[in-house]
């Protein structure tokens, strides 16, 4: 200890710093795309991967039979050779495969497809099972043909079931056989460690160094290379993808600005925009999301069981305030349950409570709705002279004073937008004298309370990734789904709606289904079990100095089309 001399350590530190400066020049091959990701992917096991980050990686490896066209969102044959053929007699779909190869060189055959579907059914893989349980039989007449027999006509089969990723029978056979013998087969399957997934996609995983990065390289057997699909000439032209894990978006932004990553693969907070827009070699993309952020009411108990109250609350909510301030303008006001971006199914003619009104008019309108429904006040929000004043002591039509009215929101760490929206809504409801309290809760407690125990007044939640098929409309409001853990969280029960919903799920004619879905939207917005608030815009940024050719699409630029078409910019200078 006595020999310890800090001078030496300082000198050493200075030396280190000097070396650091010298060693700063990083070299990267021209074809290497460096991507910043917020968190590590959860797993490479496709059956466990329910998180966005795993899906981002795995979607470049495992491929579905059909993709969506980036512009029209129509189905595009991907592993399949053409669109499925439907035979109404036998209620069967026939899919023919294109000649694709797995990344180990083996051929993709109809038995791989059948194997995948059977695996989902046998193990009842969560999130997939509901899309496959109505398939009664699968036939593989030859190596390139698969035929699926359905119990009854299902509108979602084409768009929902046939878009799941296909896995290789050879890779999974043994795992499945072992898992079958275990006490908890599903858990066994989910917990299986996949080191190097075998897929048919444009890239294969070369290395995953946990906590640091993932390295993917081009799949030499990728079926699309050189082909033109959906009018697009496919590559991939990039040789490597390096996915770096950042943890905090601020630092990832700095990395993008500094040039240590080429793409920022998750939503950017609006605060950075001014800065990023000013930088020449960065391009910012704004993509629509297929998302629904909404306020849900509990229809099982007073006071939110009263549609008048729900309409009054809907009137009081200033979507413009939420979008222009809390979302900084990067979102669209939603009026129906289906996002306006989903043009085919979206119905614009629904009731738009209080759209474009100012604060006072909202209060007046809500006051009118409530007075008409029999509500009374100790101090009403509108005085005798007709001016808006602070209100208090609202009473229900039966004369009882309204009890504490709670607005549950996710916590600030999960989504600050919804937490702050909840606070603002609380203030707006207080304007008409409602004893409203916004209460952010840990996400799983919130869901437990809303979805499990049904113990709440209202909540604000979001579905960040709605499918393009509108089947969720049925799932959210079907009476049969009003049960613990069921998706009808509001407890909405309407036989008229149920009938339409069931019809829509079996309508094989697209236009017939469109009409049904529109009618459903109208009913829902009349009864407001959910009140849609906003659909945020996805902001993504890339560097423009090394790669070009990003494809914009619903859900952003990180789609398969971008990664197969992206080209390095040659830098000869």
């Amino acid at each position: 200890m006595t020999k310890f001399n800090p001078i030496r350590i300082i000198a050493f530190g200075v030396l280190l710093a000097a070396v650091a400066l010298a060693g700063c020049s990083q070299k990267e091959p021209a074809g290497m795309l460096r991507v910043g990701l917020s968190e590590e992917p959860r797993t490479l096991n496709i059956w466990l991967a329910s998180d966005a980050n795993s899906r981002k990686i795995l979607s470049k490896i495992y491929q579905p039979l059909y993709q969506h066209d980036p512009e029209t969102l129509e189905l595009i044959p991907w592993l399949a050779a053409d669109l499925p053929e439907y035979d109404p007699e036998t209620v069967a779909y026939t899919v023919r495969l294109r000649g694709a190869r797995w990344s180990d060189g083996a051929e993709l055959t109809s038995s791989d497809v059948a194997f995948t579907a059977k695996l989902i059914k046998e193990f009842r893989i969560p999130r997939h099972y509901s899309r496959w349980k109505f398939v009664t039989r699968i036939e593989t007449p030859d190596k390139r043909t698969v035929r699926f027999f359905l119990k009854n006509p299902k509108a979602i089969f084409r768009s929902r079931s046939l878009t799941i990723p296909i896995v290789q029978q050879k890779e999974w056979e043994d795992i499945v056989r072992i898992a079958r013998t275990k006490e908890k087969p599903l858990a066994e399957l989910l917990n299986h460690q996949v080191e190097s997934p075998v897929g048919t996609g444009p890239f294969v995983l070369k290395q995953w160094r946990e906590g640091a990065y993932l390295h993917m390289v081009r799949n030499p057997y990728f079926f699309g290379t050189g082909k033109t699909i959906a009018g697009r000439q496919l590559g991939p032209h990039i040789t490597d993808i390096v996915v770096k894990i950042f943890g905090t978006s601020d630092v990832a932004i700095l990395a993008l600005k500094k040039g240590t990553i080429d793409m920022f693969w998750w939503g950017i907070q609006p605060g950075y925009l001014d800065d990023l827009r000013n930088q020449d070699d960065i391009h910012v993309y704004f993509s629509e999301k297929s998302a629904l952020y909404f306020m849900g009411f509990n229809l099982r108990k007073p006071p939110s069981d009263d549609p008048h109250l729900r309409r009054a609350i809907a009137t009081l909510i200033d979507k413009n305030f939420i979008i222009s301030r809390i979302l900084q303008g990067f979102g669209t006001e939603m009026y129906s349950i289906i996002p306006p971006g989903n043009r085919y199914w979206y119905y614009p003619e629904v009731e738009k409570y209080g759209a474009k009104l100012d604060r006072e008019s909202r209060i007046r309108k809500a006051y009118d709705i409530l007075t008409e429904a029999g509500y009374s006040w100790e101090a009403p929000p509108i005085d005798d002279a007709g001016a808006v004043i602070p209100a208090s002591g609202i009473r229900l039509p039966n004369g009882q004073p309204m009890e504490r009215f709670t607005i549950l929101t996710p916590p600030a760490d999960y989504d600050p937008h919804r937490a702050i929206s909840g606070l603002m809504i609380q203030e707006w409801l207080r304007d008409v004298g409602m004893p409203a309290y916004s209460r952010p809760m840990a996400f799983s407690s919130l869901l437990q309370q809303v979805k499990g125990r049904h113990d709440f007044d209202t909540f604000i939640l979001g579905c960040g990734k709605l499918s393009t098929d509108p089947d969720y409309l049925r799932i959210f409001f079907l009476s049969a789904n009003d049960k613990p853990r069921g998706w009808n969280m509001s407890g909405y029960r309407n036989p008229e709606f149920d009938k339409l919903a069931t019809e829509s799920s079996q309508a094989m004619d697209r236009e017939e289904r469109q009409a049904l879905v529109r009618k459903m939207q109208e009913i829902v917005l009349r009864d407001v079990p959910y009140y849609p608030i906003y659909d945020p815009l996805l902001i993504e940024a890339v560097r423009t100095d090394r790669f070009t050719g990003w494809v914009e699409m619903l859900e952003g630029i990180g789609n398969i089309w971008s990664f197969t078409q992206l080209k390095p910019i040659s830098r000869d200078s």
């Binding site: 200890m1 310890f4 800090p6 350590i9 280190l16 070396v19 650091a20 400066l21 060693g23 700063c24 990083q26 990267e28 460096r34 968190e39 959860r42 797993t43 466990l48 329910s50 009842r124 969560p126 999130r127 099972y129 509901s130 908890k184 599903l186 858990a187 989910l190 917990n191 299986h192 160094r209 906590g211 640091a212 990065y213 390295h215 390096v242 894990i245 950042f246 943890g247 905090t248 630092v251 700095l254 990395a255 600005k257 500094k258 240590t260 996400f443 799983s444 407690s445 869901l447 437990q448 979805k451 499990g452 939640l461 579905c463 709605l466 499918s467 959210f476 789904n481 049960k483 853990r485």
Partner: protein, 326 residues
Amino acid sequence: MELRKYIFRRLIEIAIIFFVILTVLFLLFRLAPGDPVTRMVDPNMTPEDAEHLIEQLGLDQPIGLQYLYYVKNFVTGNFGVSFHYGQPVADIILNRLPNTVLLFTTSIILSALFGIFLGKIAAWRKGESTDTWMTIGALICHTVFLPWLALILIWLFAYKVGWFPLTGMISAEVWIDPEAGFLEKAWDIVHHMILPLGTLFMIHFGSYLLIMRSSMLDTLKEDYILTARAKGLEEKTIRNHHAAPNAALPVVTSVGLSLAFSINGGALTETVFTWPGIGRELVFSVSNNDYPLAQASFLLIAAVVLLANLVVDVLYAYLDPRIRYE
């Protein structure tokens, strides 16, 4: 003999404390509303799917039975499978632990050495302006808000000046490069470590400096220092050979006692710097309801702190024979 008995007794105490923590933790996680299945907000997840998954994860069993399994597994060294990663918890922890140990121990050792050295000087110059400024500096370092400081350091040194990489522990470019040798990789880690290390260092060294200063002042009042002076020994010798080694003892204890507190800072630092360690993993697993991983990481931290305290106590007894233990 006595020492062995003492250590044995302490180990038993530690085992009991550990067991209590283990039980409390189990209860906390199980009594909390919600479960890892609930938080999967995906309309494709039907109630039947959820029930099935809960059954498969073993979450449907009576809580008593779950507890028995949990204890049995812990005793047999099976820490279960992470709900989130689907990997054995032990693997994840073994993967993250070395990173934490590297960052944390380096920072503690460096800051203790620096703190002792500067504290010695400050005490020696008590009342002079050197002392005052050192003390004020140490206080500022010790009380600065860590995550905020960390972010500003990143902005300044990694972005503006560009001396260091932004965050993380290694750069992919170096490790992918087949030509990169061991030295290059080692340097890469060191390079990434400097900023988080600096942050932790700042927070800790201030407190060690203050403790050393106080302890040194006490030591200087002792008779043997007076004796040494009377013998006409050189001041520097007295300071470095007589006073400092004894005065450093409380710093050693405080390293042990404040370990739990330092771990808070460690977790924050790891989180801000995306350092792939236990602290960051714990914060992450907690927000994901990943009970097995969160429990195991927390217990690991508790065990380390408990054992560190024991080591410090024993060490202290060796270094200072006046200490008695009951």
